[in-house]
């Protein structure tokens, strides 16, 4: 039964059962992630529907070009992950390493962009919560004019949503780093590549969350 890196736990009958169990478990976990984020989406929907004009105005302070860039970066990383699954299934592990490195790079770009966005906001007094005190002029926008009731709610939601999403990206980067070393050491084969598959699923979900965050926070 044992081919390269294959480990059948004693309590499973066969590999198919083990793989299916792991995948179902992962999907259940992803669903908990969806419901975790759903709370933020509900808060967003409630406050947006109460103060639509404030939310429309506050979102002007976010740079949609950076948001779009990050969307493209994340989509690309999802693509490379999907490709890496394709190649691990074919046993072409050198390509898998390259693709996962590209994924890691995309994730890093995403975080760097996020860093510039956050620091740009912080330097002009746009903080979540009590510290909210926008000032200064950026791109012809006078930030101090945005010190209006309920704008703090928008930015609280923005920071919490993107913050939690960012944490997920960081976790994903850690996972990819770990995967790359394992692929490079030849731990995976077409017969057993469960960690690659599961990490891929996780990463796609992080992408899907961003697909919704981008228009809700930056565009509309």
């Amino acid at each position: 039964m044992s081919s390269a890196g294959t480990t059948l736990k004693h309590y499973f009958v066969n590999h198919e059962q083990q793989f299916d169990a792991a995948k179902l478990g992962m999907w259940l976990f992803l669903v908990t992630e969806i419901l975790l984020f759903s709370g933020m989406f509900v808060a967003y929907a409630v406050y947006r529907s109460w103060h639509p004009e404030v939310f429309a105005q506050a979102s002007e302070l976010l740079d949609w070009r950076l948001g779009a860039l990050n969307t493209v970066v994340l989509l690309a990383s999802s693509f490379t992950v999907a490709l890496s699954i394709h190649f691990v299934q074919k046993g072409e592990n050198d390509k898998v390493v390259v693709l996962l490195l590209m994924t890691l790079l995309c994730a890093a770009i995403f975080m760097v962009v996020k860093y510039f966005e956050y620091s740009g906001k912080f330097s002009h007094g746009v903080f979540p919560g009590a510290g909210f005190e926008p000032h200064g002029i950026v791109d012809g926008k006078d930030y101090s004019k945005y010190d209006i009731p309920f704008a703090p709610q928008f930015f609280s939601i923005y920071f919490v949503m993107t913050g939690i999403h960012g944490v997920h990206v960081l976790v994903g980067m850690g996972l990819f780093g770990w995967l790359i070393t394992r692929v490079a050491r030849g731990h995976f084969s077409p017969q057993w590549y469960t960690p690659v598959e599961l990490t891929g699923l996780y990463w796609h979900l992080v992408d899907i969350i961003w697909i919704f965050l981008f228009p809700l926070l930056y565009l509309i």
């Binding site: 059962q17 299916d20 169990a21 478990g25 975790l36 919560g129 703090p152 709610q153 609280s156």
Partner: protein, 546 residues
């Protein structure tokens, strides 16, 4: 090999063999020790609360002390006892054996769940002992909680962490039931306890993340004033209640569904009869799990939410009441033309039916819009949810522990002691909580430290409160008695046979008195349903013709 080297307890020795175990049975025992300790703590806190209320005025606690004690009682009992106990103890111990699996699907995750649970518990205790007092009530309503002491930060984090323990437990069981059943163990041959734990898993996975994000937001509200829930900053405190109850109402089903599963198994085994309406009970567990998500707003009829949503939530509440009622009818009908054996577990099953029916019927009462306006936040509600959570969930757990005790420990307990304790608990429980229905419907609000000033208009409050307090002592004595004879049984009890109750499920028919480390010598082949006593020649011997 000697018999001793064959079972899960003797397979490995030493503390580390427990702390690092991935054996679902040992993890179940570890949950039993943890939850038992917390239950003792929560119970002691409860007697403080009742003693304070026994007489008017300040009895043993001042206002702040009382508020902290009832808060802690609620937090400990809800998050550290009732929610984790049945899935953690009995789900872990019994479920994999009942479906013929060697372990759960993710044993290491299972162990991690226990550590997360303990980490959450320790964070709560640490916050309470070293950071500050928490007097928010277990519901953490804003803006009171966001203005309270920093220990709230610890407690919310604790709930968040313990929540993930609950998620991973539920996830593990769902996958186990889907993927790990033995040959022949079809969905309609699953014991009803398995169905119940499966349905519970669905609730744990879908609801618990929302309490997670709620606690994150409350944490940030307290830490950074993000203004989502605090009205002084433009937030909405009622929104917090939506968030909180979106989890905490389904959590009631995390508590009660597993107990219903235990009762189904007990009614079948001790009536030696097929559980009436097996398919209905199985599927209604899942239906209740889903419907449980649609009714949270019935906690908020007087909160200021829209009348429209109050009406929707009230209507949906009754939808969930009907399948629950039908389950009760089915359990009673199971005894019809059966062979009813009144051993201790069955006494608890019947007690469950008695108490849970009262809890359910008073649930209808507080689900009715106009009546709830009067009863909301009074002792009527306190009595109602104790009938459901303690009379339902905990009595179910105690019954289940008595039922599976021989399988878990290999020993029998004293039957007479068991029945005496059960009677004490029954009397004590009803004296404690039935009086609270009167207190509540007459208008005594919950979470009151004192009722002296109400006595002028409501002189009967003094006698009712005193009766309730006396009842709580009787209840406490009954529960302590269980602890005593359980410990005695553990060391001195007679050895248990493999199947003392004549049950038909795999944990009794296919293992020794104590299960092996990997449950079975060989994977069982299942050929009949869990309650097919008339086919169980392997249990009873060939049937005599007459």
């Amino acid at each position: 090999m000697s018999e001793a080297s064959h079972n899960y307890l003797s397979a490995k020795k030493g503390l580390w063999s427990w702390l690092a175990t991935t054996d679902h049975k040992r993890i179940g025992i570890m949950y039993a020790i943890a939850c038992g300790t917390f239950f003792l703590l929560g119970g002691i806190l409860a007697t403080f609360v009742r003693t304070e209320l026994g007489t008017p005025g300040e009895t043993i606690l001042d206002q702040d002390g009382y508020n902290q004690i009832f808060t802690l009682h609620g937090v400990v009992m809800v998050f550290l006892v009732i929610i984790p106990a049945i899935p953690g103890i009995l789900g872990n111990f019994v479920l994999p054996i009942q479906i013929g699996a060697k372990d759960v699907a993710f044993p290491r995750l299972n162990l991690a769940s226990w550590y997360l649970f303990m980490a959450g518990a320790l964070m709560a205790v640490f916050g309470w002992l070293f950071v500050g007092n928490v007097d928010t009530g277990w519901t953490f309503y804003t803006p009171y909680s966001s203005g309270a002491s920093n220990a709230v930060l610890w407690l919310t984090s604790a709930v968040f962490v313990a929540g993930f323990a609950s998620i991973f437990t539920g996830l593990n069981f769902i996958v186990t039931v889907h993927k790990m059943r033995a040959p022949g163990m079809t969905w309609n041959r699953l014991p009803l306890f398995v169905w119940a734990i499966y349905a519970t898993g669905i609730v744990q996975v879908l609801a618990t993340p929302v309490i997670g994000i709620t606690m994150v937001l409350l944490f940030l509200e307290k830490l950074m004033q993000i203004g989502i829930f605090d009205p002084a900053l433009g937030g909405d405190p009622v929104l917090f209640q939506h968030f909180f109850w979106f989890y905490s109402h389904p959590a009631v089903y995390i508590m009660i569904l597993p107990a219903m599963g235990i009762i189904s198994d007990l009614m079948g085994t001790f009536s030696r009869q097929q559980v009436s309406g097996y398919t209905f009970i199985a599927l209604s567990s899942v239906a209740i799990a889903f419907l449980g998500f649609l009714v949270w707003g019935h906690h908020m009829f007087v909160s200021g939410q829209s009348a429209l949503s109050s009406i929707i939530f009230s209507m949906l509440t009754f939808l969930i009441g009907i399948p629950t009622g039908i389950k009760v009818f089915n359990w009673v009908a199971t005894m019809y033309k059966g062979s009813v054996w009144l051993r201790t577990p069955m006494i608890y099953a019947l007690m469950f039916l008695f108490l849970f029916t009262i809890g359910g019927l008073t649930g209808i009462m507080v689900g009715v819009l106009a009546v709830d306006v009067h009863l909301h936040d009074t002792y009527f509600v306190v009595a109602h949810f104790h009938y459901v959570m303690m009379g339902g969930a905990l009595i179910g757990l105690i019954g289940g522990l008595h039922y599976w005790w021989p399988k878990m420990t290999g020993r029998m307990y004293n039957e007479t002691a068991g029945i005496i304790a059960a009677v004490l608990i029954f009397i004590g429980f009803n004296l404690t909580f039935f009086t609270q229905f009167f207190l509540g419907s007459r208008g005594m609000p919950r979470r009151y430290h004192d009722y002296t000033e109400l006595l002028e208009n409501f002189p009967e409050f003094a006698a009712l409160n005193m009766a309730s307090t006396i009842g709580s002592y009787i209840l406490g004595i009954g529960l302590l008695m269980i602890l005593v004879y359980a410990l005695y049984s553990l060391f001195k009890g007679p050895k248990a046979p493999a199947n003392p109750w004549g049950a038909c499920t795999l944990e009794w028919t296919h293992t020794g008195p104590l299960p092996d480390e990997h449950n079975f010598h060989e994977t069982p082949l299942v050929t009949r349903g869990p309650y097919d006593f008339h086919l169980a020649d392997d249990v009873f011997g060939p049937k005599e013709e007459n």
